[in-house]
């Protein structure tokens, strides 16, 4: 990477450190950090999924899934466990290949790219894994520095500044010398978040960011996602089954079940227009269209049969 890029990146940073009042204005301005790969005019959709089919081990996971993720917003994709939400993120990131259908990210078909182009695209995508996926043999500092070291030849002092700024933005500048094994789950996720924004991506994908956290940490993560999205002009894709937290920050919700989108809308819209299934899911009702009981023969006959 050329030093030119490094300067641009730093410029992006300075913007972030502006006071909140100024920040709000910046968030609405389309932020363009990198020259676009394609010459296609920029529309409002960053990620578009068209008629996605995917199955694993003979079991269909997506059956014609289509959705659009608007630029600059937080979009939550929700659904019960086992609906392939993580798989969806891996498909968007190009780690898995769909059987049918297309995924366009910033107008580029992810699965029609050569390896080099795919890697170039991935530099502009951040992903936060559920476990954090920190490199266990590197310290917190080195973990955040990792993508920078791999992709750009920066002088050590500039690198240090950048890493400390990223760490500061997740509130962990003081934890720079800790090893990943010394971090709590929430801290690991915050470090991973600092690492995900290290290359100033255009989007971040969060894989179940709220799972397994205590309420305080959860609150920290929720507000971080919101703050980073607004301050950096990111597009955030949130995959979760934590209805409360997700709908509290998401601009738009997709509910997926059985390989397809069941309902979509803003949180307020879903309150009113949601289908019966979505209603059950959003409210966490134990019985409804999704029955409490796994399909079984009649209870009474089953019990008496054994005699």
């Amino acid at each position: 990477m050329t030093p030119h890029r490094g300067r641009l990146r730093l410029a992006g940073f300075v913007r972030r450190e502006t006071p909140p009042s100024a920040r709000a204005g910046i968030a609405h301005r389309p932020v363009q950090r990198f020259p676009p790969i394609d010459t296609q005019p920029h529309n409002d959709t960053l990620v578009e999924i068209r008629d996605l089919h995917f199955s694993r081990g003979g079991r269909p996971i997506f059956k014609g899934l289509s959705l659009k993720i608007p630029r600059g917003s937080i979009t939550a994709i929700m659904g019960p466990s086992g609906t392939g939400k993580t798989t969806l993120l891996k498909l968007i990131g190009g780690q898995l290949k769909p059987e049918r259908g297309q995924i366009l990210v910033d107008g580029v078909d992810v699965h029609r790219q050569g390896l080099a182009d795919l890697y170039r695209l991935r530099r502009r995508m951040g992903m936060l894994f559920q476990s954090g996926a920190l490199l266990t043999d590197l310290s917190v500092f080195e973990n955040v520095a990792f993508p920078l070291r791999e992709h750009c030849k920066l002088p050590e002092r500039l690198l240090r500044t950048l890493v400390l700024m990223k760490l500061e933005s997740v509130g962990l500048r003081g934890a720079r010398d800790l090893m990943p094994s010394e971090l709590s789950g929430g801290m690991a996720r915050r470090v991973a978040l600092a690492r995900a924004i290290a290359l100033d991506p255009m989007m971040i994908m969060y894989d179940e960011p709220f799972t397994g956290l205590d309420p305080i940490t959860m609150g920290v993560i929720v507000s971080l996602i919101k703050r980073l999205n607004d301050a950096l002009g990111l597009t955030s894709i949130l995959v979760s089954h934590d209805v409360q937290e997700a709908s509290s920050i998401a601009d738009y919700l997709y509910l997926i079940s059985d390989g397809q989108v069941v309902d979509a809308g803003t949180p307020d819209e879903l309150e009113t227009i949601a289908s019966e299934w979505s209603h059950q899911f959003l409210k966490g009702l134990p019985d409804g269209p999704v029955p409490f009981h796994y399909p079984a023969p009649d209870y009474l006959t089953d019990l008496t049969e054994g005699r």
């Binding site: 891996k90 990131g93 780690q95 890697y119 170039r120 991935r122 530099r123 995508m125 951040g126 992903m127 894994f129 559920q130 476990s131 996926a133 920190l134 490199l135 266990t136 990792f146 993508p147 791999e150 992709h151 991973a192 690492r195 290359l199």
Partner: protein, 260 residues
């Protein structure tokens, strides 16, 4: 009736599938080997955990193997009044067979299993996947340096093993059992041919290094990302490496020394 046949067939297909994946993976490694030249520091770091940390076990084992060879060789040779030939017996068995083979077996147990466990853990904790999403190719960043380090380490370790073992044989044969020091070394030099014996031994350990490194990184990368999957992969690395080393040793010995 057809049940066992079907199981056999499924097992066979599974073996071929794994072999195929293993070779494709090897191809990816070989195509990415350039990173070992452009970023030698990555290799050096792995040389430490693969080579330096194996040094002690190799040296100690070498010493004991050499001392046992000295004893056993002496006991047998003294019956024919040929204890002067002890040096050549010790050295020939070491440089031709024991050095490369025992080192490769120990190396598979010490470093190969550690490599598999390390890579497997990185896969299980999504570190490899995370690297991919950071646009860093894990084959280049993680696999190739480890593969190259293992491949380089084994011949060096085998040489250290043989050298230490020759000294071990000397301690026992000359120091303890009273074989003449001069004839120990001169018999050795008279009967060990540099090209035919030493070079062939080095070639053997290069081949073993390649195979053990390949198996170890493949098993790690191919592991089922659970703790049970990892333990199975680690076991497989040791077992498959040992079998591959012994089988290849037979073939190589036939090719190298078969014409006598």
């Amino acid at each position: 009736m057809l049940g066992p046949l079907q199981r056999l067939g499924r097992w066979g297909l599974g073996v071929f599938e794994r072999l195929g994946r293993g070779h494709l993976f090897l191809l990816r490694i070989l195509l990415s080997l350039g990173v070992a030249v452009t970023r030698p520091r990555l290799v050096i770091k792995e040389l430490y955990s693969v080579g330096v940390l194996s040094l002690l076990i190799i040296a100690v084992s070498g010493l004991f193997v050499g001392m046992v060879l000295g004893y056993q060789g002496y006991i047998t040779l003294v019956k024919f009044g040929a204890e002067e030939a002890l040096g050549s017996v010790v050295a020939l068995s070491l440089v031709r067979e024991l050095g490369p083979v025992v080192t490769a077996l120990l190396f598979a147990g010490r470093a190969g299993s550690a490599l598999t466990a390390e890579i497997g853990l990185m896969k299980t904790t999504e570190q490899l996947s995370g690297m991919e999403m950071m646009a860093v190719d894990p084959v280049k960043r993680v696999i190739v340096p480890r593969f190259v380090a293992a491949f380089i380490s084994l011949p060096l370790l085998a040489a250290i093993f043989s050298a230490v073992a020759v000294m071990g044989g000397y301690f026992i044969g000359v120091g303890l059992l009273g074989v003449d020091a001069g004839s120990y070394w001169s018999q050795m030099q008279a009967n060990v041919d540099f090209y035919k014996d030493v070079m062939n031994g080095i070639i053997k350990s290069l081949v073993f290094g390649f195979v053990v490194a390949w198996i170890a990184v493949f098993e790690g990368h191919d592991t089922v990302p659970t703790s049970e999957g990892m333990s199975r992969s680690t076991t497989r690395t040791v077992v498959h490496s040992a079998l591959a080393v012994l089988a290849l040793d037979f073939i190589l010995t036939g090719l190298m020394f078969g014409d006598i």
